[in-house]
């Protein structure tokens, strides 16, 4: 018992040293080796009221992604495309480091990251989201809500967004043969429809540097690490995106 108390105190007072002691023996405090990711569970279709959804848990981190499709006017500069609008929310519920009020910087960074990956033409052809050129198109709102923040939320978000997009059914729009007959908005048939034409599947992997390169850092490791990097890879094996936020050394390019 005394040893346990001593270990807890040591962890609180010298967290960095605590980690180093474990890594010397090629193991992390939660029992994983340096390359092991945490157990991951993906559950698509959890939110039945949305057009596509997915719940992802990565260790204790869990995020829910919900996709809603709505009618919208096409963008002013391009008549034939639709919209993809990702948003990541980190509510106070997911962690005590977030307080009610304006969205934290972390949420905005994640939203930007997801936008870069999923709004590019290499993922989805926005022309598929056009219904009537110049008049009507789909707006695909991709909302990711973090339910528990325990490190590496970025990988969980990418997984959730990818799985949710794969589960989306684009409803069939009933258009009259003569478009000028159309009054108001056309009706849609959610039961008939087709899946989105996704050009590729991506997954991401995040690494943190803490004495050594660790895969899938948990929250404590994220707070202690000197650098981190996220690499996004597609099913063909090519690298789509790399992101290294915050201060990092140039030597940490092992991916």
């Amino acid at each position: 018992m005394a040893d346990e108390i001593a270990a807890e105190t040591f962890k609180k007072v010298y967290p960095r040293e605590f980690y180093s002691r474990f890594l010397e023996h090629n193991v992390r405090p939660d029992g994983r080796s340096r390359e092991d990711p945490r157990p991951c569970a993906i559950a698509p279709g959890t939110i039945t009221s949305s057009d596509g959804s997915c719940l992802v848990t990565l260790g204790k981190t869990s995020v829910v992604c919900g996709i809603k499709l709505e009618f919208a006017d096409p963008p002013l500069d391009n008549d034939n495309v639709g919209w993809i609008v990702p948003t990541v929310t980190l509510p106070p519920l997911c962690s005590d480091r977030f307080t009610p009020g304006p969205p934290p910087a972390e949420a905005q960074r994640l939203s930007e990251f997801i936008t870069d990956i999923f709004c590019s033409d290499t993922m989805l052809d926005k022309h598929d989201l056009c219904i009537i050129p110049g008049k009507l198109s789909w707006a695909l709102y991709l909302d990711i809500q973090c339910v528990n923040y325990d490190g590496n939320v970025v990988d969980a978000c990418v997984l959730a967004a990818m799985a949710a997009l794969q589960s989306v059914t684009l409803p069939k729009v009933e258009l009259p043969s003569d478009l000028s007959d159309l009054e108001g908005l056309p009706s849609i048939d959610r039961s008939a429809g087709h899946a989105l034409n996704l050009k590729r599947t991506v997954t991401s992997c995040t690494f943190a540097v803490l004495d050594d390169v660790l895969t899938d850092p948990c929250l404590e490791e994220e707070d202690l690490c000197s650098a981190s990097m996220t690499v996004v890879v597609d099913d063909a094996g090519s690298i789509c995106s790399m992101c290294s936020p915050g201060d990092s050394n140039a030597e940490d390019t092992r991916a």
Binding site: V64, E70, P92, D96, Y141, D143, N148
Partner: protein, 241 residues
């Protein structure tokens, strides 16, 4: 005319008029909070988190303050909700939940402190306020906040002349009255009452009775969730327990 109750007396999801939806409860999933719970009734899914009692903010009173932050995920409703800086409906529901628990929490035991509740609705399929109150009760139990009793909430409505219990979103679109009552089950004391839409004054008593029955029926389910959590935690207390 959409049919809400069939000739055999079955509702759209196959329930009878006085049946509750299927309940799923999970207590203590988030270690970072003092107390947490997930509660699901039918397709309405709510997560609640409690932090406190902690240092009070603002004017210090002799009794503890309860504050609640209520949020609905953008994808929780059939039509996407745009997240707004000041959402009045969320603010109202947050303050209704906080005031419900002011009556049940023994705030005299926590002077100059405040108890922070955070509610997140993942899917809204009717009865959101009631399900949120049930989730918060479990989260408060998990946090060890002293309460006089469980707080159980349920909705009741009148559809096609029949009193129905625990309505979902489809049944709410029938535009009948929607009564939400939160009770302390052992004394049947009402700690929160809210009614939307219209109902004739003579029908009120029957609706209230049905909602209270619904609340008291939920009690064993809430108790079981807390017991399961406690049983799971017992081995962690160590050999002395």
């Amino acid at each position: 005319m959409p049919e809400y109750i069939s000739v055999e007396g079955l509702r759209e999801d196959g329930r009878r008029a006085n049946e509750l939806r299927r309940v799923e409860a999970n207590v203590g999933m988030f270690p970072h909070a003092d107390g947490s719970a997930y509660f699901q009734q039918g397709d309405t899914k709510v997560v609640a988190i409690v932090n406190g009692p902690k240092q009070g903010v603002g004017k210090a009173g002799d009794a503890g303050k309860v504050v609640c932050d209520f949020e609905m995920a953008a994808f929780s409703t059939t039509q996407r909700r745009k997240p707004l800086r000041l959402d009045r409906k969320n603010a109202e529901l947050g303050s209704k939940i906080a005031s419900t628990f002011e009556s049940a929490i023994m705030t005299d035991l926590y002077p100059r402190s405040q108890i922070e509740i955070s509610v997140q609705v993942l899917q809204a399929d009717g009865g959101v306020l009631a399900v949120a109150i049930n989730a918060v009760t479990l989260a408060l139990m998990d946090a060890g906040v002293a309460m006089t009793d469980f707080v159980c909430a349920c909705t009741a409505s009148v559809i096609d002349g029949t009193n129905v219990l625990d309505i979902n979103h489809y049944e709410a679109s029938a535009q009948g009255p929607e009564l939400t009552i939160a009770v302390l089950p052992s004394s049947s004391t009402i700690v929160m009452a809210e009614m939307k839409s219209r109902v004739h004054g003579d029908l009120y008593a029957g609706l209230q009775d049905l909602a209270i029955v619904g609340g008291t029926t939920l009690l064993p389910l809430l108790k079981k969730a807390v017991h399961d959590r406690t049983r799971a935690m017992l081995p962690c207390l160590g050999p002395a327990a």
